[in-house]
Structure formats: structure tokens, C-alpha cells
């Protein structure tokens, strides 16, 4: 049975090297605000989720690059060509210290595009906070 260990080891290395690392939209430098009435996010939702990270300095990062109002408009327009507005959700992962002025124009863009499903990512209130 000893040679089988090498086979298993080779298989593990193979799948580890060839597996696709899923790019997450989560920017860990964002300190989310806390809220009591936050809802657990539905992982089985059929909606296309567009996640925008708003950093403490007010800059907006989406897909790993900084964007502005025009870019978000283009992104939403591209998504609306593929699916109706009811199937698109925009989530803002905004730092608690970020100014509201950084988010306000983005909310306006969403409203003008007819994307009403907007949410703010929050952290649940724990006893340690």
C-alpha cells in the first residue's frame, strides 16, 4: 500500500495546482459598519450581485479596480443587456468611516438605471463590539 501514498500525493498536488482560485469581491481592508437588522445573504439567490467596495478615503473599488460613476453606469448597462433589473442586486461594502458622498452618486446611478435592489453590507452586532 505504500506506493499508493505517492499516487495520492501526486493527485493532490495536481488538483491543487490546476484548481481555479475563485476571485472574491471581498476587500478585507473595509471595516464594515455594524447593524442589528442585517439579513443573512442568500447564497442560492438567482440575482446577479454587483459588489462595490467603498474604502475609507471614499474611493470605490469594483472587480479589483477603482471605478467612478461612469464606470458603474457602464457596468449596470452591460448587466441590463443580459438580464432584467429585477435580477440585479448592487451591494455596497462601505467602510464605516467612508463619507456618504462617495456612495450617493452611485445610488443615483442605480436608481436611474432602475436597479432597486441595493444593500449595504454590515457586520452583525456581537458582544465584543
Amino acid at each position: 500500500m505504500t506506493p499508493m501514498i505517492d499516487v495520492v500525493f501526486q493527485l493532490i498536488v495536481f488538483f491543487t495546482a490546476t484548481s481555479t482560485m475563485v476571485k472574491t469581491e471581498v476587500n478585507e481592508t473595509v471595516a464594515l459598519p455594524v447593524a442589528e437588522k442585517g439579513q443573512n445573504q442568500q447564497t442560492t439567490s438567482q440575482k446577479k450581485k454587483v459588489t462595490a467596495n467603498v474604502l475609507a478615503d471614499g474611493s470605490v473599488v469594483l472587480g479589483g479596480r477603482r471605478i467612478g460613476v461612469a464606470e458603474l453606469q457602464d457596468i449596470l448597462s452591460a448587466e441590463l443587456e443580459q438580464r432584467p433589473a429585477e435580477h440585479i442586486e448592487v451591494q455596497f461594502r462601505a467602510d464605516r468611516k467612508a463619507p456618504y458622498g462617495a456612495v450617493e452618486p452611485l445610488l443615483l446611478v442605480c436608481a436611474k438605471k432602475g436597479v432597486w435592489q441595493v444593500s449595504f453590507a454590515v457586520s452583525p452586532i456581537t458582544e465584543n463590539r
Binding site: M1, R96, V118, V122
Partner: protein
Amino acid sequence: MKSPNHYSSEPGNVSSSMTPMIDVVFQLLIFFLCTASFKLTEQALPTTLPPLGAAAYKPPPEIEELELIRIGLTQSGDELHIDMNGNACAGIDDLAGRLRQLMALANLPAVLDVSTEVEIGHMVAVYDMCLAVGLKDIHFAAPDR
């Protein structure tokens, strides 16, 4: 000298060492440890934007001021200033108490008029409080510019 017989002459006496399987388990453990990712639990605070066709929530002129709750948020330094329908509030708790009094009379829609300098954390705290007191129809005011 007779060479040792590798095969046992007694039927049913087949044994195999389980020690190599421990290495397999160890390799699998390393694999899953390397590929595991630990994420902080996140929740979402849903908001409702204005209806289709409207760039901003502007109530019709015929709606009296008492039928709409306008919550204004401004910030100077680290201090948050809250006013409800033009009346200054001492804080979020004071606003919550006033909202509960109003909600006991009628379920009114609310508009959050947030200044650009207000921190998102303060805005979320006020929005969260509005949800906690039972407000269901909460909108964000659009800028006049």
C-alpha cells in the same frame, strides 16, 4: 536454508498495516487547510430605492408634512447631528423615541436626507434604528444639485 514463505499457510490470516493511510489523511488535511478561506460573517442591510421612472423620491405636494418623516443627518467632526422634520434630536436614542411615538399613531414613510460628509457608519446606524422601530418605507433623498 529455506527462504521464508511470504504467504501465510493459514487461510484467513491476511493483515495489512494501516500506518500508510495516516499519511494519506495527513496529505488531505494539508490540502484542505491550504484551500480553506476564513471569512468574516457578513450580512446585508437592504434598501429600497425610488420607484421606476423617478430619479429621486419626491413626495407629491399635496402630502402634508406630517405624513412624511424627514430625517436629516449632518456631521461636524465626529459629532453626528440629527433632525426630524426640522426639529433637532439629542441623538439616535432620542430619534428612536420620537419615531416610536409617531409609529404608534400611523405607519409613515421616511426619507433620509444625508449630507455628503456624514460617515457611512452613522448613516447605517440611523437606518438600522429606523428598521428596529418598525419603519418599513425608508427612502434616500436625492441631492438637489
